[in-house]
């Protein structure tokens, strides 16, 4: 960290003027979210009587322009020098209000936020009187803190102009390209041995009906042509140290085992004795232990499946010399990056055994499998055949693994059902119905749905087209899901689908079919390791969680770690790319200038109180965050603790051990907490007579 920043930081936390606190108090109704339970006017009125409170208002929406203007005007016109706001969660609007203060010329850290919505009105619906009293006490605590608050300066640090993108699906690729075009260095890490993610597995993609792989290839070519991007496939993050601007990330890469391409690749694959389930075709075909995931994959060329390869050496015999190395080992390396984009994508929901006949009957497949089946490069060369016979009757059942209802559906391993909508499956199913119609003009096609949610631009066209194309729609309700069972041996079609159809007023219908397609939902890829490494959290749907779905839709709670694409929740390609571009914009805004600003919440030593005991140095868990330095003054030599803010993360371990109370975490000082505790516990005379 540059010396001048350290000095500036050391001075922060001292209020040069020690001015008399003039506190502005603002109570937000949140459009009734708070005001329907808490008497906001009364809260403001009561708090207005407390010492140092110069103004106290309640307002319908403090975050609105008029609400913010009210604060700014009070700062400018009434000399308010501390602000306490009671509103929604601190995580939503802390930044909004800090900027309001800044615009009005006040240090943005002279503000305290009380969460009156999530922690009062939304949890005390039935006790409005007590909720109002609690609000008064919580706000009084904020006022007590505000009296002691000091202006703070953010910590400014140098940052690597280098971003790490984890996941090489369409979202990761889009993010990497946008970042590189803004002049940042990008390292892209992809777990599998090829780029493109799930999109490579689809035949055509809505809403344009373009062929998926050529479309994807265009993006991949642009990425490959970008000199600022370095790609590592077969690679995963093994660990990371540091903080925003300065991460050192360890990457572990599995070898391909095969160097480049050569003419006799098919012959090499043919001699391999190991057969494995082909994951690219969702198990509809097999592949060898030396294989190419799909024809046009990037990077091209073969790769070895180390988990199943027996190293028999048959392939080495057939390949040109030196092209295959069965002794190649995984290796680790590090990259220094300023920010991280998590673009780890999704996996299709895996039904459990017997769920609508899954795995019980071979004629039940999933929508991703149908994509592979109808793909001209798929296991049946795009013919709509099953078990060697043309499919004449097919039922597509929607919402399998999505919009599940507790008590009706079986829970996942964590005990929760997938109660969210996977959003893409309706249009994906409808577009498949149209493709089936093209491939099998006489086939009977049934779409068995709960609701059709063809929500995006041009998605409705797929519904209209399917309706015109003689696709039969049947509607079930969540509490009575369709049943799939084996038909009589003599029956023409192997399966029967029983459904109570609410388009015909609840009539029970049995449809004989050759094939059932389960339109499975989306689940997040398992990234527990990354969550632990980068300290990001999942939402209740297990996808990675953003700070706020509307206001900060791609940022996580961890500075410098952002989300792109379906790692965050179900999205189509268009939305994944939009999110990926937003993530790239956020990252570049953060590190483009080769520096980042961090919150000033680091340890601060009061030199007048410090006696140089050194207890803080002994307990500090961070490297080089605090040390004892020798000073001389008037011929006297003494030791004092000195903090290096860049290395301090504000853990506060030093605060509790200081025998002289010379240490504090700026912005979260012990004396502020003591004042808050006192304020909450105190009697509130004005309140006693109210209500």
């Amino acid at each position: 960290m540059p010396e001048e920043n350290v000095n500036k930081q050391a001075q922060a936390g001292q209020n040069p003027k020690d001015e008399e606190p003039r506190i502005g108090v603002y109570v937000c109704n949140c459009g009734g979210n708070i005001g329907d339970v808490v008497k906001c006017d009364m809260v403001a009125q009561t708090l207005g009587k407390l010492p140092n409170v110069t103004v106290a208002h309640s307002n319908m929406f403090m975050c609105s322009d008029p609400g913010q203007k009210m604060i700014a005007d009070d700062i400018k016109e009434k000399g308010i020098n501390r602000v306490v706001i009671g509103a929604c969660s601190i995580f939503l609007h802390e930044q909004t209000f800090r900027r309001t203060l800044e615009r009005a010329g006040l240090n943005p850290y002279l503000y305290y936020h009380v969460g009156l919505r999530e922690q009062v009105s939304w949890v005390h619906h039935g006790t409005p009187k007590e909720a109002t009293e609690k609000s008064i006490r919580m706000m009084a605590a904020g006022i007590a803190k505000a009296r002691n608050m000091k202006p703070l300066e953010p910590v400014r640090l140098p940052a690597h102009r280098h971003a790490l993108v984890i996941g090489g699906g369409v979202a990761g690729l889009r993010s990497a390209l946008d970042l590189a075009r803004r002049g940042l260095q990008v390292t892209l890490v992809e777990k599998s041995h090829y780029l493109g993610g799930r999109m490579a597995q689809w035949e055509r993609v809505f809403p344009t009906n373009e062929e998926a792989r050529p479309l994807l290839k265009r993006l991949i070519d642009q990425v490959l042509a970008e000199p600022n991007i370095t790609i590592h496939t077969g690679a995963q993050v093994a660990g990371a140290k540091g903080y925003v601007g300065n991460y050192t990330v360890t990457i572990r890469q599995q070898p391909r085992g095969v160097r480049g391409t050569f003419p006799n690749e098919q012959g090499v694959m043919d001699v391999c004795p190991i057969k494995q389930r082909c994951e690219f075709n969702y198990g509809l075909s097999t592949r060898k232990a030396i294989y190419r995931p799909y024809k046009e994959c990037v990077p091209e060329g073969l790769v070895i499946d180390w988990e199943h390869c027996t190293k028999c050496g048959e392939c080495v015999q057939v390949a040109p010399e030196g092209m295959i190395n069965l002794e190649e080992e995984a290796h680790e390396f590090t990259v220094e990056v300023g920010a991280v984009v998590l673009a780890t994508g999704f996996q299709p929901y895996e039904p459990f055994y017997g769920e609508m006949g899954w795995k019980e009957y071979p004629e039940v497949i999933t929508l991703p499998q149908l994509h592979r089946l109808l793909d001209d490069e798929g296991p049946s060369d795009g013919k709509f055949y099953w078990n060697g016979h043309p499919v004449r009757n097919v039922a597509l059942i929607h919402c399998v693994g999505s919009r599940q209802v507790e008590g009706v559906h079986r829970a996942q391993m964590d005990g929760e059902v997938n109660n969210y909508c996977s959003r893409v499956c309706c249009t994906a199913s409808l577009s498949m119905a149209s493709l089936i119609r093209q491939k099998a003009p006489d086939a009977k096609i049934y779409e068995i749905y709960e609701d059709i949610r063809a929500y995006g631009r041009w998605h409705e066209d797929y519904y209209t087209r399917a309706s015109k194309n003689n696709v039969t729609f049947l509607r079930y309700y969540a509490e009575e899901i369709p049943e799939v069972r084996r038909a009589d041996e003599k029956a023409e079609n192997p399966l029967l689908v029983k459904v109570r159809d609410h388009l015909t007023w609840g009539e029970e219908i049995e449809i004989p079919v050759d094939l059932v397609v389960l339109s499975v939902g989306m689940m997040p890829n398992p990234v527990q390791d990354l969550m632990e490494i980068f300290k990001v959290t999942p939402g209740s749907d297990r996808f990675l969680l953003e700070v706020h779905p509307k206001l900060r839709p791609v940022e996580t709670a961890v500075n410098g770690v952002v989300l792109a694409g379906t790692a965050q929740g179900p999205m189509n390609i268009q939305e994944s790319c939009a999110a990926a571009s937003a993530a790239a914009a956020k990252v570049s805004a953060l590190i483009e200038q080769a520096k980042v600003e961090l919150e000033p919440y680091v340890a601060h030593v009061d030199p007048d109180q410090c006696q140089g005991s050194g207890e803080c140095v002994k307990v500090c868990p961070q490297e080089e965050a605090i040390e004892l330095k020798t000073f001389s003054e008037n011929g006297r030599t003494f030791q004092r603790a000195v903090v290096t803010p860049a290395n301090c993360n504000g853990c506060g371990v030093c605060v509790s051990v200081c025998p002289n109370r010379a240490l504090d975490v700026q912005g979260w000082r012990l004396d502020e907490y003591e004042a808050m505790v006192e304020a909450i516990a105190a009697d509130i005379p004005a309140w006693e007579g109210a209500a």
Binding site: S89, I90, F91, G115, R117, E118, Q119, V120, W122, V123, H124, H125, G126, T127, E130, A131, E133, K134, R137, M138, A141, K535, T537, P538, G539, S540, L545, A557, V558, Y601, V619, C620, P621, Q622, N649, G650, C651, G652, V653, V655, S656, V657, D664, V665, G667, W668, L670, Y673, E674, M676, V677, E678, I680, A681, A682
Partner: protein
């Protein structure tokens, strides 16, 4: 239990870390799940800043139960969890000297999505106060410290 403060409503202080319990409390709110309003949540960056004296003072000033809701081993701060546990244990010693039931102070690992564990912790504190009542104030050191009955420790609890 008869105390001079019997008529005032008992207060519970929840010191909740911004990377753990405080977000957990927000999640409870987002789910509109009710709990009693005598609970006061203060956001903290790291629970390791509070020395034992802070807790004793808080009991003296008017709180009857305190739960520290930190992120436990998931804390973003290296050393926070060990140091906090150490301080809480030290505080138990001081509480004993003051004849304060150690169950009034508890350390609980509450994550950002720990809705149920959060509610259970609040419920636990409420039940305890129903059973043992408010803190008799002012706190004074008794002449002889009675032996602590088994199973009355506050304890360190990990929900995640």
């Amino acid at each position: 239990m008869s105390t001079e403060t019997e008529n005032r409503s008992a207060k519970i202080l929840l010191l909740a870390t911004l990377s753990g319990g405080y977000r957990g409390a927000d999640m409870v709110g987002q789910g509109h799940m009710d709990y009693p309003p005598n609970t006061y949540i203060l956001p903290v960056m790291s629970a390791a800043i509070f020395p034992p004296k802070f807790y004793i003072d808080a009991f003296n000033k008017g709180f009857d139960a305190i739960t520290v809701m930190y992120s436990g081993t998931d804390s973003p701060y290296k050393g926070e969890s060990e140091k906090t546990a150490e301080i809480i244990n030290e505080t138990y010693g001081k509480m004993k000297e003051l004849n304060l039931d150690p169950r009034r102070l508890r350390l609980a690992a509450i994550c950002t999505v720990c809705v149920r564990p959060f509610l259970e912790e609040v419920q636990r504190a409420e039940k305890l106060l129903e059973e043992i009542g408010s803190v008799p104030r002012p706190l004074t050191k008794p002449q002889a410290v009675p032996a602590q009955p088994a199973g009355t420790q506050g304890g360190i609890f990990h929900a995640n």
